[in-house]
Symmetry: D2
Subunit: 350 residues, 4 copies
Amino acid sequence: MNPINGIFVPHVVPYSADGSLNEGVLREIVSWLIGKGVSGLYPNGSMGEFIRLSFEERKRVVKIVADESRGRVPVLAGAAEPNTDLVLEMCRFCADLGCRAVSITGPYYYKPSQESIETYFREIAANSPIDIVLYNIPAFSTEISVPVLTRLALDCPRIVGTKDSSADMCRFLHIMNAVKPQRPDFSVLLGWEELIVPAIMMGADGGTLSTAGVAPEAIMRIYNTVRKGDFEEAKRLQYKLLELFQTMLKAGNFPAGFRLGYKARGFDIGHARFPCSEEEAVLLGEVAKKIACLLGECGLDEKLPRCDLPGFHSKTPYSGKQAPAGQLASAILDRTRVEQLVREVMASMK
Amino acid sequence: MNPINGIFVPHVVPYSADGSLNEGVLREIVSWLIGKGVSGLYPNGSMGEFIRLSFEERKRVVKIVADESRGRVPVLAGAAEPNTDLVLEMCRFCADLGCRAVSITGPYYYKPSQESIETYFREIAANSPIDIVLYNIPAFSTEISVPVLTRLALDCPRIVGTKDSSADMCRFLHIMNAVKPQRPDFSVLLGWEELIVPAIMMGADGGTLSTAGVAPEAIMRIYNTVRKGDFEEAKRLQYKLLELFQTMLKAGNFPAGFRLGYKARGFDIGHARFPCSEEEAVLLGEVAKKIACLLGECGLDEKLPRCDLPGFHSKTPYSGKQAPAGQLASAILDRTRVEQLVREVMASMK
Amino acid sequence: MNPINGIFVPHVVPYSADGSLNEGVLREIVSWLIGKGVSGLYPNGSMGEFIRLSFEERKRVVKIVADESRGRVPVLAGAAEPNTDLVLEMCRFCADLGCRAVSITGPYYYKPSQESIETYFREIAANSPIDIVLYNIPAFSTEISVPVLTRLALDCPRIVGTKDSSADMCRFLHIMNAVKPQRPDFSVLLGWEELIVPAIMMGADGGTLSTAGVAPEAIMRIYNTVRKGDFEEAKRLQYKLLELFQTMLKAGNFPAGFRLGYKARGFDIGHARFPCSEEEAVLLGEVAKKIACLLGECGLDEKLPRCDLPGFHSKTPYSGKQAPAGQLASAILDRTRVEQLVREVMASMK
Amino acid sequence: MNPINGIFVPHVVPYSADGSLNEGVLREIVSWLIGKGVSGLYPNGSMGEFIRLSFEERKRVVKIVADESRGRVPVLAGAAEPNTDLVLEMCRFCADLGCRAVSITGPYYYKPSQESIETYFREIAANSPIDIVLYNIPAFSTEISVPVLTRLALDCPRIVGTKDSSADMCRFLHIMNAVKPQRPDFSVLLGWEELIVPAIMMGADGGTLSTAGVAPEAIMRIYNTVRKGDFEEAKRLQYKLLELFQTMLKAGNFPAGFRLGYKARGFDIGHARFPCSEEEAVLLGEVAKKIACLLGECGLDEKLPRCDLPGFHSKTPYSGKQAPAGQLASAILDRTRVEQLVREVMASMK
């Protein structure tokens, strides 16, 4: 098997009006992304709300993605199931579907010791019929420490890589330093858009970037630019990416902002599986326009509405010396500030 | 319906050798606890590893507990399912079984805004056929803030109480102060053994205490003592409880230490659903003896082995002026220290 | 020497218009507090902005307090100087002035290991001519862990007590449990108003409460009530205290809110030694009225303006069944919300 | 004035046997560093234990450094004094000595709001006779948020740069993105060795790196390599730097490990101004040998002892494909583990 590299897309799950999986739109997204040149697909990640699906729904998502992609790109499927037996059942299921590997987070809810987490992954690695990527996302689940990750990488052939969404560049460098000299084929993938250019400059093998589901053209352009060594242009694009990513990251409850991005690209994906308050819904409507404009700015105007937000300076991309486009964005984006304002205004109207 | 009060037991789930639910032992535990006089049962709490069970297994646990208790005590069942539809399905299931109420944590993994969490609970409360207890356990799931909890308590008749496992006495006092004057029948239950006496002194309605599954006699004695106003004796018992609780809390990965307590009381409950390392297993063996001795010290010698740990001063209960019993415990219990020592010793033997 | 107990007042430092120490007002405050029956005085605590004074100013503050109190009450003086030599110089200075003891925080800025902190306090204890109180305030300086505090308490005669401002009732109970049985004369003082009643119920020796500088009558009444065993009344007063404390705690930057309290009591103490923004200054003006009203509610109307805040239900003290007084307070107090609102409004006016 | 760029050295303060400043050795260090080609000097930083010196000692340190450097390199002097008046007094003092700028941290001990911190820096900037660098070091003092830093950078000509020791690459990128397009001459300096290469690749102006005081040859080589665009070699050196930095960072209490580095380079700098326990002192002795060997590995053998640590693979520098040198280091460096082990062994010998 080849090492895992390039840009994998942790995509959303679309729902129908009744809240059930929308298979048609999911297939549409998969083929659209493959058409845009992404390196691989990543169902059942945090973006895909895996934890809000039933076990059967998670299986169905992988099945649809594997079926629709028809081997055109590799599939890295989330398998962070609630106990070892179910993890292994999902591993077998994904193996049978021909997935390239599964991705498993550290435990959530409980916070076991690092020693126990190591034992847990060793057990899975010893019994899995499919390659494993260790998914570190300390904001949501217990961290997999660098020493544990290193020992697992050096001891377990089944564990072939890591996806790191800690937003911690130092952690990334320490993993590279600890693992790569002894196992150069171990894949180190960044799961944080803001660090993708410096990480690839420093040797990362690729990324699993949610933004790649919304703006695959932009992300693939960044990836290809930095891979071919055009660091000046890669740098420029990295800075340009910050605002789009932050806008989607901070809009409502993750992953709501990224879901707005899919809508801006024309996909009817329905509501996320967690409610938001009325005030937040109003706010999301505003941010949706902003996201559409930012995507337009990236030159991704296919299906996008023309930008007519007051004060939004379209067509003035960040060039290293000028004011960053979209100052409206910063006014919109401080969630706390805006939530509070909206509450206040609504309260005053009562 | 009467307000919920007294001591509810968040009990373990026993497993057979093959890892499946052990219905026989679960029934045994339920009837044993009822026989000891506990106020109610609490299946599918954090102690019951709800998150490591499948949806079907969680249903089966509640069914067994409801069936075995046969109305002798009320059942408060965990219903922290992964999305609103599944929460409501579990609510209906528990209602049909005649449970007194369900208990629902804040969201885990994702960390939605407090406004969204409020909306989430309002939706559930509007559609649930059974009373709801808000379960705040910030170590494992997103906090339910005091303002949100207060608004929910004052607006939603279906939300009849809270279980607080934050170990934060100030939070408890603020909840009491914000809710009780306007809704005196709202139940405030403490989920932290170390604060049970001061909390009841300050007006709490009871507790959901894991230790009550291991030492129901001791916990019910504390509860009855403080309820009847014998504060001096209650104080003495509260201090005495600290060591037993800390010993079980810090032994291995929660809830492993409490599971050792059940074993010490004679229940064959099998292994928790998360592995521990070999070194940790060795350590747990040591702590098991310690827990047995501490339980013996509490006068709970039924089924317990005689204590022959070197240096363990049995029969010298803490009396407010003497050295606390079981200095060995403090030597055993600092998990980090011991783990490291064991690793070191094992390394040196290689 | 007698053990330290009762209520010590960590008082403010008043400044003149030019920013220098205002000796006259400081003397006025000291004698006023003694007249109100407080147990002792505590210059150079966090309330006294010790870290914003020069070394010479700190000496002068203690000198004035010791001189003005003239042995009427004991003085516990802060001596958290930046290195061991300066700590010991301050210890000698306070000893010469006849202070009862000094209080020393864990290190600030740097975060040494617990082992080093233990060594640091052992060195000071071995060389100090005056008794020492260990001041734990983890919000501002490195925690002194329970094991370290216990070893110091049991080994060092010079270390005679602890002041705990962690707001952590569990920590308090563990300290009591670890130290008191072996050294009953070790003073355990609470530095958190919200826990004073339950802590004294559970055996605390007293408190160092900033509110005692603003409302000495109220705090001494609570202290005397709980000491004489009238727990029902003590409980009622504890709940009543929550709002006043939170109002002062959260108004602007600590200790600005408490300084407003002194002003409400008629003391011209000048501005704290850190600026606040214009918006915050406007907000503090609002909170000042609220604090005055809350103090009036406590029956402390001496020198206080009549309360005419709209919506403020004066003369309806919390009685356990009614709405808490001062709902305006909760509207005013969420600092983030208000700051943001004010910013927004001011921005919209430009 | 030219923008501040290059590598500034936050150097230690050497002490004589009696604990007083050792002026002779300080002058020796200053001239040695200048001889090694560093870009500038940085007295009274965190490395220089500014907070453990008296105000007079801090002045003396700057005076000696300014005097000894005689204009050969610019001096950036720490001025994080405890109140605005004293900050401004230090600003004037440094201006009179001809320093290039002062560096001021966010407030320590107290944690004022971001709005107040902004006001504080605006006041200082409006009154300072010398340029100011905003020093963000959230591990030790209150963070200066990106929006506040941005507003200050865009509004205050006196504020000419920032030193960022947050180890947060995302924060660095956001600062670059927010400030540079509008104020390209604003200096962004990294204060974290592990990120120096990627940061300069992404546009940073330089660094204030403690390691530059111990291994100025190595740091200047990295800086010059990345500046001239040799990214492959810069990358190799960046990875090589990780172990040396972590070894010094984690040895004992910061900045003890770096002080060992100065000793390894032959400077008699005495003990830091905070005690360490006996066990920690034993451990530091071991780490000292390790640091000497690591420095030797960097080719900095001037004055260094030959490395004869068992198991230390000298002369096998990290080359991207081999095992990292110094596996002993990782065995030595987990402070918690070793502390605990040493305690245990010493306890068992009693």
